[in-house]
Each structure stands twice: as C-alpha cells, then as structure tokens.
C-alpha cells in the first residue's frame, strides 16, 4: 500500500510523534506505515485520513499485485 502520509504530515509541519499522538498509536506505527512496512487496519486508515480532513483514498493508495476483477471478468467473457 502506498501512502501520502509523509507529505501530508510535512504540510502541517508535524513530527511522527505528533501525528502518533493525534492518531492514538505509537510513533513506531506511524513510521512503519510511512515506510510501507505496515498496512494499517481500516479503522486506523479512516482515523488518519479524518485527522488530515481527507478521504481515505486520498491518503492511502492500494496497489494490487493481481489484475483488477473487472479486467479479468472482461477477458473471460470475451
């Protein structure tokens, strides 16, 4: 999963610790999300997005390793 967390945080001039305090998680958790080592749960993703006043898809971008379902269903129907 890709994230714009670092950019959004920089815009507000927040440290990881400050964002962690707002999101009520550890600084290590924010660091792991930013560096792509950890994918947050849905509730945490929504919480972080809400902190920045954004939609969840504006903060987190899911990168699928497999082709999208719509593409594969189109191929099979052809």
């Amino acid at each position: 999963m890709k994230t714009r967390l670092r950019v959004l945080r920089a815009e507000r001039e927040w440290t990881q610790a400050e964002l962690a305090m707002h999101a009520e998680v550890s600084r290590a958790c924010i660091n792991a999300i930013e560096t792509g080592r950890y994918d947050p749960s849905l509730s945490l993703a929504f919480k972080i997005a809400r902190i920045f006043g954004k939609n969840v898809e504006e903060v987190f971008l899911y990168q699928s390793v497999e082709p999208a379902i719509s593409e594969s269903s189109q191929t099979s129907s052809e």
Partner: protein, 135 residues
Amino acid sequence: MTPRPVPIDPLVLKKQNFLRIFYGAATGSAVAFALVQYSHNFKREALLALALLGSMFAIWTLLRFLRVIDEFERQYTHEALRFAFVGMLSLLVLEVCLESLGFPRVPGYANAAFAVIFWSLGLAISSWQRHWRHE
C-alpha cells in the same frame, strides 16, 4: 536552528511502566516461589502468599499492557506469544521425556519463568526481524 522538542507521549510512558511493573512482579514472585522451597513454618506460608499475590499482579499488569498497545505493537506481541506457546510446548514435552528417563521434576514456578523468558525472547526476535527485514 534548534530541533523541536519531542513531546512525551503519556501512552508510551504508560506502556513502559506496565512492562517494568510486569517484569518486577514476575521476578519478585519467581524469587519468592524459589525461597518457599527452603523456608519452614509461618515463613513458608507468608512467602507463598507473597509469591501468589506477586504472580497475580504480574498477570494483571500483562493483561493491562496488552490492552493499551496499538495494532502495530499487537502484531509484535502476537508473534512473541506464538513463539512462547510453541517454545513452552516443546519444553514441556522435553521435560516429560526427561522425567520418564529418571531426571528430577522441574517445579511449576520454573515453567512460569520459562514462559516469561520465551515471551521476552519472542518480542526481541520479532522486533529484530522486522527491523532488519526492511533495512
């Protein structure tokens, strides 16, 4: 330009305190349990009561710690608990085998101490793996 002071997160302090209290209580009760074996009369009963109270307090602190950690830390502790469970199971099987071969019986409090050691080892290993896997 001076660096901004890092705010002290009360949640971090709370977690650290819970862990410190847990290890303190666990060590204290392990020592008390060990001393019970060498004491007599009323001292023995007092030590046993102290050890039981200490271990109950340690378990309560551990449960409180598991409740305050976040989802990322929960992953670590889950891996550590898995490691501790498999480790303890293997150790108990080994103890049973050795006992049946005539080796002396390992006391129950020692097994509790082994469980704590396995859990701590599991925490260290999962933290180390996560750190080096993504360097």
